[in-house]
Structure formats: C-alpha cells, structure tokens
C-alpha cells in the first residue's frame, strides 16, 4: 500500500508504523469515526450533564408530577416528580459502564482460555473446548434470569461478571485457532528454548500478535453487553432499584407509553444510538486492521 503525503523530492522515508497505518485507515471511515465520537460524547455527557442540573436522579419535584418536557425539566418528569433527564443520564452512565466492563472482562477471559487451550493442547484443550460447547448451548438468558434471585443481593459488579461469563466462548475458539498456528512460529520456539515459561510466552508473544482481533472483539462485545444488560434489567433480572439503567427506565415508562411517551423515548433512543455507534466503530476497526479489506 502506498501512503504518500511526501514531496516528490524526498527519497527515503521512515516506514509507517502499523499503529499509524491502522489509525489512518480508521480515520478514513467517516461512519466509524462518527460512531466513536458519538460514544465518547455520550459517555462524557452522561457523567457531566447531571452536574449542571439542579435535580439528582433520586430527587422529586412536588410541583411537577408527570409533566411533559419543558425548560424546568428538560425531558419531563415521572409520576412522582423525578426528573427524567437526570435519570436517563444516570441510566446511560450505568448501562455504558456495564457494557464496557463486560466487554473487557469477557475478551480478557476469551484470550486467556483460548490461548491456554491452543498452547497447551491435549487434555487442557479438550476440557476447555467442552466447556465452551456447553456454555454455547445453554440458554444464557435463562440461566442469568434464574441466577437473578441470587444476583440481586450481590451488587452490579457481580452482574458484570455473570454477563461476561456468557459472552466469551466464540472469541475463545478463534483465539485457540490462532494460537495453534502461532505456537509453531520461530519467535515462539525461540522464546521457549530461551527458557521462558508458558504463561510468559502467552502473555508476551502470543496474545500481542492477535491484539487486533481482541480489540475488535471487545468493541463488538460492548454493544452485545449493553443489549443483554438492558434486556435483563427490563424484566427486573438485572440492575436493581434504586439504581437505574436504560433497561429499567424503559420498563418503568412502558405502561404509560401512549399517554406520556417522554418517560421511555429518551432512554430508548439513546440506547439505539449508543449500540449503533458501537457497531459502526467496531466495523470500522475491523476494516482498519484487516489489510485485505482495503477500501471498499
């Protein structure tokens, strides 16, 4: 690929590093950049905006029950006078945080399990892949719903871990396949003969070589995790009151959707926009990392 911005007179030019190349390819995708910007802005606003509002997500305004959007309450109020704007921002913050954490944990888990299965092979491999197959077949939504009875006393960090526990399997399989081929490469053999331990080899030589796959996977998982979280929270199986997430906001607003749509629409539209932005960013990243993808 020729990437020239140089004057014709210059002969030698330092080779472009891979990171810069990927960054340049990514920046050329307008939709992907827009997705990334939207996500960052949403997350920042979700944290900053409530600071500028006189209300908090738990406070009530006794002079405005179920009032439509206006200058006093930007997104209107709920039946008991809660400010929908601040609640939505709080829910957005919670949903995005859970999504990001779940993606990090599940991709990390996939990398560890996949690399271990691929590198050690044999019985380790067989046992881990059996686990992957089992978890893939289990109806994860059901299991999480059943576990919600126990989860509601554990706080939302445990919820993050449980969500991640059902997201990592397919990536682990891909990592395993890549590890099989990397294991036989010269630099890994050299490290082995130099006396490095297996986990050190996995951490320093194998996983960095599939960083692109892991980054793309983590991005895509953010969207999946947000959808799963809001779905479970919608039924009361996820985030528990008094905490709010986009899912609980939509659930609480749904019965009044026909008469007071402002109760669920902001949360709903932000949810769609957020997941859409993440998936565009993920697509752009995948294309940027994939040299064969070119510019289509």
């Amino acid at each position: 690929m020729v990437l020239t911005g140089s004057a014709p007179g210059r002969v030698a030019r330092a080779p472009v590093s891979r990171g810069r190349l990927v960054l340049r390819r990514f920046l050329r995708k307008r939709l992907a950049v827009a997705g990334l910007v939207v996500i960052v802005v949403m997350y920042a606003v979700a944290f900053l905006a409530p600071l500028f509002s006189p209300w908090t997500y738990a406070s009530q305004d006794p002079s405005a029950y179920l009032s439509p959007p206006g200058p006093r309450h930007w997104f209107g109020t709920t039946q008991i006078g809660g400010d929908v704007f601040v609640q939505t921002m709080h829910g957005l913050q919670r949903s995005l945080t859970i999504g990001l954490l779940v993606a990090l944990v599940s991709t990390g888990l996939a990398a560890l399990v996949g690399a271990a299965a691929g590198y050690f092979g044999g019985w380790t491999d067989r046992a881990l892949m059996w686990l992957v197959d089992l978890l893939l077949v289990l109806p994860s939504f059901l299991i999480l719903a059943i576990l919600s009875q126990w989860l509601r006393h554990q706080g939302w960090l445990m919820f993050v871990l449980m969500l991640a526990a059902f997201l990592w399997m397919i990536t682990a399989r891909m990592v395993r396949g890549l590890t099989f081929s990397l294991r036989e490469r010269e630099f890994v053999k050299a490290a082995r003969y130099a006396g490095e331990g297996p986990w050190r080899i996995i951490g320093r030589h194998i996983l960095p070589n599939m960083a692109s796959l892991l980054i793309v996977d983590a991005t895509v998982n953010v969207g999946t995790a947000v959808l799963a979280e809001t779905g479970l929270s919608y039924f009361g199986f996820g985030v528990q009151a008094p905490d709010v997430s986009l899912g609980t906001l939509i659930r609480d607003g749904a019965p009044f959707a026909l008469t007071s749509p402002w109760l669920f629409l902001p949360a709903g539209l932000l949810l769609i926009l957020g997941v859409l932005a993440v998936s565009f960013a993920g697509d752009g990243l995948r294309d940027a990392f994939d040299p064969a993808g070119g510019r289509s």
Binding site: P139, G231, A257
Partner: protein
C-alpha cells in the same frame, strides 16, 4: 447400475450416521441444561418466602407440610431425578400452588410455537431475499436502505422494538378508525363467531407480535446473506455458469444462491436461539400466555418446576434447530457427505 447404487447407499448411511451421532450429542446437552437449570433454581429460589411473610404467620406445621409437598426435605439430586423420571412419563410435576404443570404445558407450547415458527419462516425467507437483493444491487439505494434498516433493527432491543411497533399500530388504528391491529393477548377472550371469524380474530392479534419477532431475524439473515452472496458474486464458477450460456437470473438463483445459502444453515441454529430470547420479551409485551411468559412468572413465584420445564422446552427447541441446521447443511453442501 449396481456400483452407483452402492455409493449412494454408503453416502446415505454416512449421513444418517452423522445425524444420529449429532442427535445423541444433543440429547446429552439437553440433560445437562435441565440439570443446571434445576439445581441453580433450587439453590437460589426460596419458595417458602411467600408463606413465611404472610400475616398472621402460619403455624410451623403448615410450613413443614408445604416443604414436604415441595419435596424440600429431600436431597437435591434425588429431587432432580424424580422430576426427570416424571418427565419421561409425561409428568412435569406441580407448580407451587399445586396445579399440575402438564395440564397447562400443551396450550402454552402451542402459543409459543405459533410465534416462533411464523417468526422463523418469515425471518428466513424475507431475510435471505433482502440479503440477495442487497448484494445484487450493491451500493445502490436499495442496498443502502436495507443495510441501514438492518443495522438500526439489530441495535434495537426486542422489547423496545415491540413498544415502538405497538405505538405505530395504534396510530394505524386511529387512522383507519377501527381496531384492525390487536396487541393484547393471542385472541379476544370471549370471542363469539364462526370458525373463519375466529381465525380472523387470531390473525388480527398475530400481526404486530410476529412482526416484532420477525424483524430482528430479517435483519440478522439479510446481513449474513448479503456478505455471503457478495463473496459468491465475485467467484469464478458463477462467471463460468454465465459463460456457458445461463441467463443472469438462472445463474444467480441456481448456482449463486445455493452456495451462498450454506453459511445460513449454520446461522440458523444461532438465529433460533436469539429468537427464543426475543420470544420471552414479545410474549411479555403483548400478554401472550406462552412459555416465555411462564418463565418470567415462574421466576417471580420462585417455582423450580416451572423454570426447569421451560428450560427443557428451550433446550429442545435450540437442539432441534441445531439438528435441523445440520440436516440443512448436509442437504445444501454435498462435501460433508463425503
């Protein structure tokens, strides 16, 4: 023609052997799934809480009797195996308030399957068609519309999609001036009328929920079919098919689409899994008394038997679809038979 026949028979027995082995594998996974659901439910549910929180508090004898009714005094493994033994004889146990599950099961399975099957058929057919059209009209307005549409649908959770469709249906009803689109329940409870009128009534109730569940499937299949079809469109064998004189349409349908359908067979099992999760939301949203609704009810009531029964149903559905996708795969792709 003896050798040909022998070869065919060998291929046939290989395929049936392959499918039988997969089926056995799936049955084992089914058992594990119900076992996990049963034990997890038993360990986390507190079915006596409702009784304990009653005011005035019931006598210890009542509580002990209830616990005995629910077999809470037996060890967990024993409870599971006696439940499983009952299932093999067609008895799924009792709910907490003592009604047999088997009596309600048939009706609820019927309600759910109606939704799932219609959703799958519409989703697969429309989705594959949309994907093919999108690929053939690559980078034109149609392609962009389908692509953007499916991206938006895939980013929308089912419960939100259903909520928005409900609003839309209401607007249509206002515009038409009558309730042509119904969205509570699967039928009008006290419906009077002949056979055809009641079929009409059910269809009125069916449209919006089916659309809710089918849209997600359409979006999913169209994305994958589009990329599979694009791969095929650039392939040599399609150019050969055109070069030997097939019309564009015939080459696309007979050679292109069949090849591009192969990855869809694998996707089918996955798609059905997401459909079932979506079904839980759809039933809940439109007050259909199906299996998904039952699961939410069962968890709310802390009822292990209901939860395990629904899990078994879901596992069987997923595994049947997985097995079907194996069958489809071996039909579409001759290579797996060799």
């Amino acid at each position: 023609m003896r050798p040909a026949k022998a070869a065919w028979e060998r291929a046939y027995s290989y395929v049936t052997g392959f499918l039988a082995r997969r089926l056995a594998n799936y049955v084992v996974l089914c058992l594990i799934a119900t076992f996990l659901a049963y034990t997890l439910a038993s360990l986390t549910f507190h079915p006596l809480d409702v009784l304990l929180s009653r005011n005035p508090p019931p006598s210890p004898a009542t509580i002990a009797a209830k616990a005995r009714d629910l077999h809470l005094d037996e060890p967990l493994l024993e409870r599971y195996f006696s439940w499983l033994g009952g299932v093999l004889h067609g008895d799924f146990g009792q709910t907490i308030d003592g009604t047999p599950i088997t009596g309600e099961l048939g009706r609820r399975v019927g309600v759910s399957l109606r939704l799932f099957l219609l959703g799958t058929v519409i989703g697969v057919v429309v989705g594959v068609l949309a994907g093919v059209i999108s690929a053939v009209r690559h980078y034109r307005v149609t392609d962009y519309l389908i692509t953007v549409g499916s991206f938006v649908v895939l980013s929308t959770p089912v419960f939100l999609l259903g909520l928005l469709l409900k609003q839309g249906a209401l607007q249509i009803n206002f515009a038409v001036g009558s309730n042509i689109l119904q969205f509570t329940g699967e039928k009008t409870p006290d419906f009077q009328g002949g056979f055809w009128a009641s079929v009409g009534d059910r269809i009125q109730h069916l449209i919006v929920p089916t659309l809710t569940i089918a849209l997600g499937q359409i979006a999913l299949y169209s994305r994958y079919q589009r990329s599979a079809m694009l791969d095929v469109l650039g392939s040599d064998f399609l150019r050969t098919a055109r070069a030997k004189g097939l019309t564009r349409r015939r080459a696309l349908v007979k050679h292109g689409m069949r090849t591009a359908l192969i990855p869809m067979a694998t996707l089918f099992a996955f798609g059905f899994g997401t459909l079932i999760t979506g079904g839980v939301f759809t039933e809940n949203l439109f007050s259909w008394y199906g299996m998904g609704d039952w699961l939410v009810y069962g968890i709310g009531q802390q009822d292990t038997n209901i939860t395990a029964t629904v899990t078994l149903f879901v596992a069987v559905c997923v595994l049947v679809s997985g097995w079907l996708s194996d069958v489809l795969y071996s039909v579409l792709d001759p290579r797996v038979r060799v």
